[in-house]
Amino acid sequence: MTHSTASPGSAGGFTLFPRLSGTAVTGVVIALFLMAFLILPVAQVVYVAFLDARSGAFTLQNFQDFFNTTLFRESFVNSFYVSAMSVVFATVIALPLAYITTRFNFGGAVLIQSLGIIPLIMPPFVGAVAMSLLFGRNGTVNLLLDQYLGVKIPFMEGLNGVILVQSIHYFPFILINLSASLRNIDRSMEEAAQNLGSSGMRLFRRIVFPLAMPGYLAGAALVFIKVFDDLGTPLLLNVNTMLAPQAYLRITGVGINDPMGYVISFILVVFSVFSLWASFLFMRGKDYATTQKGGGGLSKRDLGRGEKITAYAVILFILALVLSPHLGLLLLAFGTIWSFSPLPDGFTLQHFGTVFSQSMQYVSNTLLYAGTAALLDVILGTAIAYIVIRTGLPGRKWLDYMATAALAVPGVVLGIGYLRLFHGVQLPFGGGPMASWWGIIIIALAIRRLPYALRACMAALQQIALALEEAAESLGATKASTIRRIVVPLMSGGILAGFVTSFATAAVELSATIMLVGRSADAPLAYGIYLFMQSPSGRGAGAALGILAVVIVALGTYLSQRIIERDRRRRAAAPGAEA
């Protein structure tokens, strides 16, 4: 965090230069970083979309082929349908959790908020196995249903299966961003509405939810784009008539030089940027900023006895639903053999023994990689958000578009792009090729998870009134100290939300990492799981490693939540002290 403020600040400190140049320099540096580690590597691979496969000449023929192919057109429609429906279901899951935990005095709110992020951490491969053992055709639920009621429910089949799994998997994007936004709403807005006689659902619908819109939209846009570009879930359910799996299957199956795979990737990137632009359009001309920050967010109400029971029932039901994959993972990690039966045949600690004796370096690598990457992400995210929203730099929106386009770049494409661009580059002092250096894994993770942090930071900044900064500056503060003392502290909720999402998802990333891991000593957790899951006997150990990943991220999240809560209480206790 300090970095982002330091760079515009240090230039702003030189009175010889005009003030803008500080942010301009930061903007240029970020643009260069994105060019070097995102645009160029991807362009190195994707340009074949525009080449004739045979002659190597420039052509748009491949795009024409795309639109002439029934399968691709169907895939596009399927992807769009699944993404839109996932946003709807993710909202249904996230809204009650966010609302109840931020608006009411509710025991365990922090715990619930932390548990709410766990679905985001679905370790590769083992997550899929756990899901199918619980909800699959012959999973626990269906075996029991079949035994007692004689019916089976196809939870995990077809497009509806994808929607179910995606909503469960990605609703935390909405939960985290919406909660951050709800916490940022000025209490006086709500009080004013109450004075005018509004209450209950009407108050929520007309005042609270609209004010939380930046956070909701940030989350919803992420869910939409992520689901549109995600290939893991469709592949685990073996649904391949969607765009992202088509691109992946083509690139890894047909071959790295097949133009159609990149045509699809290109279309994914363009469509993602387009949906982002559409969400901007929705926000245009609306001002979500509220000035007073002393109140520490919405007032929290006590619940009546009946209300409390209902609220707990709703929350417990939702948590049971969204955490069930991880329950399956837990059973897998402690189970012996689990095959065609509601529960494992027996229980053992042996898998954890294997993991602790062989695989602890994966844990420390993951903490280092995902932690550094997430830190880099919030620094870049805060800086980009500030430049896009607060400055008039020409082309500033493109920073946002560029960074967000990373969502749509398949990890394997980024990995190969890095190999192409950096393998020839030697590290100094005989460190070997740059592409096999573990630092490059951090950069790849940071690039891939930057969109998450960026959306959170953008939403946070949109809720801060410009007047607060102007006030600080008219009192004589420099741009640098305004950012450091006013903007960043006010954004802290959003920044933490961004850190948590980036960290959690980076901790289980595999597709780019697998291309870049140079030595097994440098490998992160996800790669360890991949190694275990290559053989039948590794299933339990893989699940145990998956559980370890979940626990690490959950602890990280819980700590961040505690920090947010403490900060909120501190501000609520001493109004005005902070700003």
Partner: protein
């Protein structure tokens, strides 16, 4: 922050490259296989240290292609012979002479080593049907022992396999049947089997995973998946159908290897009689290429060198397979993987119609059913086309020979096939439904 990271990196690098000489191997094999070999190799050659880098086959090939400019890898160690063919054709494999005794030239009909010495087979694998015993008991299914068995209506929804474009081993299974039964009959067989499929998995390990979990009952797998699953305690069994092919898993030295001597030592080591014994480890369960190793094999362990093993094993034509490699992948995906729902609906309709008219007495219904069967089995191209270089060239982007004139683009051809398959499956379903409705 940067300096801290950099110094740590340097410290790590410095400690790693100290004492012994590193031999770097890129492999798609699981830990269960690489760990025992690493231990045995380092015990036999204390001056070398084996550095194992695990990647799946596709990622390994891409990695070796992308890094050839400043190669850091000594060896590539994986199953799929076609991955080695790709690397060899691009000049990424070194030709070496390896001294190994007691290893025959062929296993079944498949040559164990590359004739040019670019890569060496060190273990053999056959293809089989793996099944979950709890699953078939609960569903009251008989054991399927031949590929034809899986075509029967009773197995509808109980079968799983991977796609040939996803897994080199599955590709060989598909091609084996195409060569064993002929182009048209082979494809017909695959379509009827696929009509019974629960799923086409995205990676080859998804099949044993699905059978182990009990997601589906039968899986078409390479043998060690079944053998190792059983050895790990899962309630599964493996059978070899009589038409199968045995192919070697290979190791090859990378051209311009940083430690060519260490690489050669490793290849010679894994072909040695003592290392061949390591393959019999319960978690590995691959077939040694040295016939003597079977003397110590556990009871019931398959021996591909014995008379009674897979009597119908075919003479596998490697050139034929190589010519149409990409075309077969593409045709399978277009007709089966991407249109599995349509195919399943058509096959289920035919099965229902046949169940309604089991004796074939109703001539009109029988005609409809036969028509529906023909439509399902119909192929958009002939075997001659599948071997015509000007046509197969459409599917070979990176390896195209510039002198060969090719007709059309892959996306264009696939769209034609797709329209052909979708229309045929829909029509077949319609006819079969009509037949079923006749009482």
């Amino acid at each position: 922050m940067r300096t801290i990271l950099l110094t740590t990196a340097l410290a790590l690098v410095a400690t790693a490259s100290a004492a012994q000489q590193n031999v770097v191997v890129v492999t798609s094999f699981p830990k269960d296989l690489t760990d025992p070999f690493k231990a045995a190799f380092e015990a036999a050659h204390p001056d070398y240290q084996l550095e194992v880098v695990s990647r799946n086959t596709n990622a390994s090939v891409a990695f070796l292609q992308e890094t050839k400019g400043s190669n850091t890898t000594d060896l590539f160690w994986a199953s799929a012979p076609d991955a080695f063919e790709v690397l060899k054709s691009e000049g990424l494999l070194a030709k070496v002479d390896i001294a190994a005794e007691g290893i025959p030239d062929t296993i079944g009909s498949y040559p164990i080593n590359d004739p040019d010495g670019s890569y060496y087979g060190f273990a053999a694998s056959g293809y089989g049907i793996m099944y979950n015993t709890r699953y078939i008991e609960a569903n009251d299914l008989p054991v399927a022992t031949e590929w034809e068995d899986l075509m029967r209506a009773e197995y509808n929804g109980h079968v799983g396999m991977s796609s040939p474009s996803r897994s080199g081993t599955t590709h060989l299974t598909v091609e084996t049947l195409l060569q064993g039964d002929g182009w048209a009959d082979g494809w017909a067989k695959w379509k009827w089997i696929s009509g019974n499929m629960n799923t086409v998995t995205e990676r080859s390990f998804g099949v044993p995973d699905g059978v182990n979990s009990g997601n589906f009952g039968f899986g078409i797998v390479i043998d060690f998946f079944g053998l190792a699953s059983k050895a790990s305690g899962f309630p599964v069994e493996l059978v070899y159908p009589s038409v199968t092919s045995i192919v070697p898993a290979n190791v090859g030295i990378i051209e311009n290897a940083p430690n060519a001597e260490g690489a050669k030592a490793f290849v010679e080591f894994i072909l040695s009689p003592e290392a061949q014994q390591v393959l019999l480890n319960p978690a590995i369960m691959r077939l040694p290429v040295n016939p003597d190793a079977y003397a110590h094999a556990p009871e019931g362990f398959p021996n591909p060198f014995s008379e009674e093993f897979a009597p119908g094993a075919i003479v596998f034509d490697v050139d034929k397979s190589g010519t149409r490699y990409n075309l077969v992948n593409s045709l399978f995906d277009v007709m089966i993987t991407y249109r599995l729902d349509d195919l399943r609906a058509a096959v289920a309709a035919v099965q229902a119609a046949e169940a309604a008219h089991p004796d074939g007495a109703d001539a009109e219904a029988k005609t409809l059913i036969d028509e529906a069967r023909t439509l399902i089995e119909a192929l958009p191209i002939t075997e001659e086309q599948s071997l015509d270089p000007s046509f197969t060239g459409v599917f070979q982007i990176s390896r195209a020979d510039p002198a060969t004139e090719v007709v059309g683009r892959q996306a264009e051809v696939e769209q034609e096939w797709d329209a052909f398959a979708v229309a045929n499956y829909a029509k077949a379903k319609e006819l079969a439904d009509q037949a079923a409705a006749m009482q």
